[in-house]
């Protein structure tokens, strides 16, 4: 019997904002416990939540980027449950009117585009974090109240590969939008996986198993693959999969945590302390106008419009910094092939070597485009262009300054080159003789070398070669007719 895998993901992502979602405490990652805590985060009697406008804006922006429909007003609900990491005894979240509904994200799986449907996107607050010791537990409120965005997919993902691809692409969406750093090692992006198996051709979903709070994407992959094997085995033995919550252990296996009692009733109701805020078309449009082109669109554009190879398109669209840099270079009218060449080699290798980020690189897109234009106009060889670039990086000087200072323009003028070469031949009679009398072809290279040396490597090598050949042949002929 073949089984079809059905996976739904619930992805939590902490938003990057100055303050927390409903309190003035600083929203930042800290290793010192209880450093960023305001009275509101402690759930002290009498506190009131004040929503963070920027968090709302970012959640709405993400919802739009994921092609969701947005609500007519911002409204929050309370989710009531008791747990030591939840100081108020309820979490402020969105149930009635989430920031986004019915969206999708297209992802590239192999060469095919797969559309992953988004059920909803909502904004809520993170809980405190607990650290369990043998006989007691510690509570760290740094995380309490940090704006958290939850994205729930439809159960439409069919493999571990698709799931991981979706998570990676979703993270890229967050990063391209600039709404979150989305670092899973800081717990900024976490995910719950719901997975069930159904018989091929069947229309009823199998029993769902839930795996909660997985940080690393590789763990998601391991967990899904392990679950597929485990559930397949159960079904093949004609046994029943139990509806439960499982946890992923370090060995890549999953272990039962608790059986799912379906009736966890969170007693949602509208948060009375936050009056609904209407969303105007103007406001939504102003957010929409700030949404940058996302990764897949850029990748496709590079292939279709700029005719790049899949490899280059992949490299250049891999992250927003590189892609933005590349596109800015192009915006100065730079030649596409040369721009690809310079960015994928010189620029990327330099930042890798210097272990810096693109934004910290001294060379701006404008500077790079100046260099590219020199090469493109044949004012400088590709080789020289790159050397010039490295020098500029090393000296932290505008490459055009260096060109001016060292008079580095390539000599393309043929009269000038001829004069130079004639002088060289007059000075090196023995070498001319060897060519004329002994037909020593190596002499050509000798004169190329001399020309480059004399011109400070500014002579156009191709043109110089042409002239050297012609001049030597001329002398050979003169000698024969003598």
């Amino acid at each position: 019997m073949k089984y079809k895998v059905v996976i739904g993901l619930e992805v939590h992502c902490e938003l990057e904002t100055k303050s927390k979602n409903f309190s003035p405490a600083i929203n930042t990652f800290s290793n010192i416990p209880n450093e960023n805590v305001a009275t509101v985060d402690l759930g002290l009697p009498g506190i009131l939540p004040v929503p963070n406008k920027e968090a709302c804006r970012r959640a709405l922006m993400t919802a739009m980027a994921l092609n969701c429909t947005t609500p007519d007003e911002v409204l929050f609900d309370r989710k009531n449950y008791f747990y030591p990491d939840l100081p108020k005894g309820y979490q402020i979240t969105q149930m009635t009117k989430p920031m986004g509904r019915n969206g999708y994200l297209d992802i590239l799986v192999g060469k095919d585009i797969k559309r992953v449907y988004i059920h909803q996107l909502h904004l809520e607050e993170d809980t405190a974090s607990l650290e369990h010791r043998s006989a007691y537990s510690l509570i760290d409120y740094n995380r309490s109240g940090i704006p958290l965005m939850e994205i729930v997919t439809e159960p439409c993902i069919e493999s571990a590969e698709e799931a991981v691809r979706f998570l990676e692409d979703l993270r890229d969406v967050f990063i391209f939008l600039g709404v979150s750093e989305a670092r899973s090692n800081k717990g900024q992006m976490r995910c719950d996986v719901n997975i069930s198996l159904m018989e091929e051709g069947s229309k009823t979903l199998g029993t769902k198993v839930e795996m909660k709070n997985i940080n690393a994407f590789t763990s998601v992959k391991d967990a899904i693959e392990y679950e597929i094997k485990r559930q397949t085995k159960i079904l093949e033995n004609n046994e029943k999969v139990i509806q439960e919550t499982r946890r992923i252990a370090e060995d890549g296996k999953t272990y039962a945590m608790r059986e799912k009692v379906d009736a966890v009733d969170y007693k949602y109701f509208v948060e009375p302390n936050i009056p609904p805020v209407p969303l105007t078309k103007e406001y939504l449009d102003s957010i929409r106008a700030t949404i940058p082109e996302l990764k897949l669109a850029r990748y496709q554009k590079y292939i279709e419009k700029y005719k790049l190879s899949e490899y280059d398109a992949g490299v250049l669209s891999a992250n927003k910094e590189t892609s933005d840099y590349f596109e800015q270079v192009l915006s100065y009218g730079s030649d596409i092939d040369l721009s690809v060449n310079f960015v994928t080699t010189a620029i990327l290798s330099t930042i890798k070597k210097l272990e810096i980020e693109l934004k910290d690189l001294f060379i701006t897109p404008k500077m790079l485009s100046d260099v590219i234009n020199l090469v493109h106009k044949n004012d400088m060889s590709l080789d020289h262009g790159k050397k010039l670039l490295y020098k500029a990086i090393e000296e932290k000087t505008d490459p055009m300054e260096i060109v001016k200072r060292e008079n580095l323009h390539q000599i393309n003028d043929e009269t000038e080159l001829l004069a130079l070469i004639t002088t060289l031949m007059d000075e090196n009679k023995e070498q001319v003789r060897q060519y004329v009398e002994e037909d020593n072809k190596a002499i050509i290279n000798f004169f190329i070398g001399q020309t480059m040396k004399k011109s400070n490597r500014q002579a156009n090598p191709n043109k110089s070669l042409e002239i050297i050949k012609i001049e030597l042949e001329k002398r050979k002929k003169n000698n024969e007719t003598k």
Partner: protein, 489 residues
């Protein structure tokens, strides 16, 4: 020595007679202690004079009481519950901060019904509050201590909170003025939440002027409370004497028509209705136009159950922070569930637990539509109806209660068909966030009875203005119980 003086009189003592605020405080403090054993107005009496500023405001140097469910840093704030009996807040409520900045002098934190739930003043962890006019009677609640401290003449004003009628009912039983402005006029930041959509902060004073004077100081937009209104930039004191001729009021037939109570042998209630209608005539003579309107009785009968549904539901959630984990008494247990369960079982009284269970039941998925959301819809219907009437009328006038303060032994929280509407209509003010004021209008069996005036949202100034005229007619301003006074005969 300064007992029973109102804000204007105390102002005169300080400004013109050279009496220092500290001297008044010492005398007030002494009186508070003297009357504490018998009447139990306070959870905490402040013994050290503290006045933050010498800036001149109407309230600088004036002593006051603050309900003990309002957060005061470094001062015990118990909400009159065992679960918070040792809780010392780390931050100031906005209302407290504003009073401090105005130079008002805090004399004590006043007793309330536990967690502001209940209307008897008998459920505080520190014991019952007695009515200054008759200590065998209750003063009502939940702002019991605030009402009694003012009715005893200890302080000229006290701050209370009002979720159903918690300021305006004890005001009626205590013969003082209880005012709850428009929802959002005064910040709730720092008020221990009971039912957030119904909770209001307000004042207890001995005259309308003082209510206006205090609200002038404590009102205003607060960035910490998103439900606060934009500043109206009005001075309520200065509009108290505006002409009220031609102002139109209505009373509700289904509440005030004596014929409805024909079979009743409740003499007090019948007397109150008599006095009420007599008062209306006097007010008409002063230029008010007062008419009777009729409202669907079913809607009015729904007031109490609707209030219970919404307030219990919100209260369950609002008090879910009281688990003993973050603060409060913690009991041993082998799991967090066991610890929380024990803390809450031991920390709350039976009445509170009953309300939480009710609230939790109401919010359950299978009940929510029928019990909670329907209650919210009924609330909307009631508010719409009143707003519709407010298109034609400037205010609604009703007896605040159909009884004088009950004796301790005849109290019960049971619903009585007879009193259902008469005793519970004040909640209309909370449903719609309307400004609403109760002031004494007659004495029956030597006990005060209040009349209530409720106005349009945001028209706090007009409500105070009209109440000020009513007060002139009743002649019952600045009354207080002189019990325990050495001059008392």
């Amino acid at each position: 020595m300064y007992r029973g003086l109102n804000i204007t009189q105390l102002r005169d003592k300080i400004d013109n007679e050279g009496i220092s605020p500290e001297e008044i405080f010492e005398s007030t403090n002494k009186l508070a202690h003297q009357l504490q054993d018998e009447y139990n107005s306070f959870v905490t009496i402040i013994d050290k004079f503290k006045m933050k500023t010498t800036n001149k405001t109407l309230l600088s140097g004036i002593c006051y009481g603050l309900k003990d469910n309002i957060s005061t840093s470094n001062i015990l704030t118990t909400s009159s519950s065992n679960i918070l009996k040792d809780y010392i807040p780390v931050y100031d409520a906005t209302v407290y901060k504003k009073l401090k900045n105005a130079g008002a002098v805090l004399v004590g934190k006043t007793v309330l019904d536990e967690l502001a739930m209940g209307g008897t003043g008998t459920t505080a962890h520190t014991g019952i509050v007695r009515n200054p006019w008759d200590k065998n009677r209750m003063i009502g609640g939940s702002s019991a201590g605030s009402a009694s401290a003012v009715a005893l003449g200890i302080v000229p004003f006290a701050i209370g909170s009002d979720t159903g009628d918690s300021i305006r009912k004890p005001a009626s039983f205590g013969g003082v003025v209880g005012f709850k402005p428009t929802y959002g006029r005064i910040s709730r930041y720092g008020l221990f939440a009971f039912a957030s959509s119904l909770d209001h902060i307000g004042t207890l004073t001995r005259n309308v002027h003082d209510a206006a004077a205090v609200v002038d100081i404590i009102k205003g937009l607060d960035p910490n409370d998103m439900t606060t209104l934009k500043d109206d930039n009005k001075n309520y004191v200065s509009s108290l004497e505006n002409d009220i001729k031609g102002k139109k009021l209505f009373y509700i037939k289904e509440i005030c028509d004596k014929k409805l109570y024909q079979d009743s042998n409740d003499e007090v209630m019948l007397k109150i209705l008599d006095e009420f209608h007599k008062m209306l005539d006097k007010l008409r003579n002063q230029g008010f136009i007062i008419e009777e309107v009729s409202i669907d009785k079913q809607l009015l009968e729904a007031l109490y159950p609707t209030y219970m549904s919404i307030s219990c539901a919100e209260a369950t959630s609002n008090n879910a922070n009281l688990t003993g984990i973050q603060f409060g008494p913690r009991n041993d247990g082998s799991s967090y569930q066991e610890i929380m369960m024990k803390d809450r079982t031991l920390g709350f009284s039976e009445l509170i637990k009953r309300r939480f269970i009710l609230g939790s039941f109401i919010l359950q998925k299978e009940n929510q539509e029928k019990l909670f959301l329907n209650a919210c819809r009924i609330r909307r219907l009631i508010v719409d109806k009143i707003n519709e009437l407010f298109k034609d009328y400037d205010g609604m006038i009703l007896p605040a209660s159909g009884s004088i303060a009950p004796k301790f032994d005849d109290s019960s929280e049971k619903l009585s068909e007879k009193y259902l509407i008469l005793e519970n209509h004040l909640v209309i003010g909370n449903f719609g966030g309307f400004p609403s004021i109760t002031l004494p209008f007659t004495m029956i069996e030597n006990m005060p009875v209040g009349i209530n005036l409720t106005g349009r949202v945001k028209e706090d100034d007009l409500v105070l203005n009209m109440a000020n005229y009513i007060e002139k007619v009743t002649g019952l301003s600045d009354i207080y119980s002189k019990v325990g006074d050495s001059n008392e005969v």
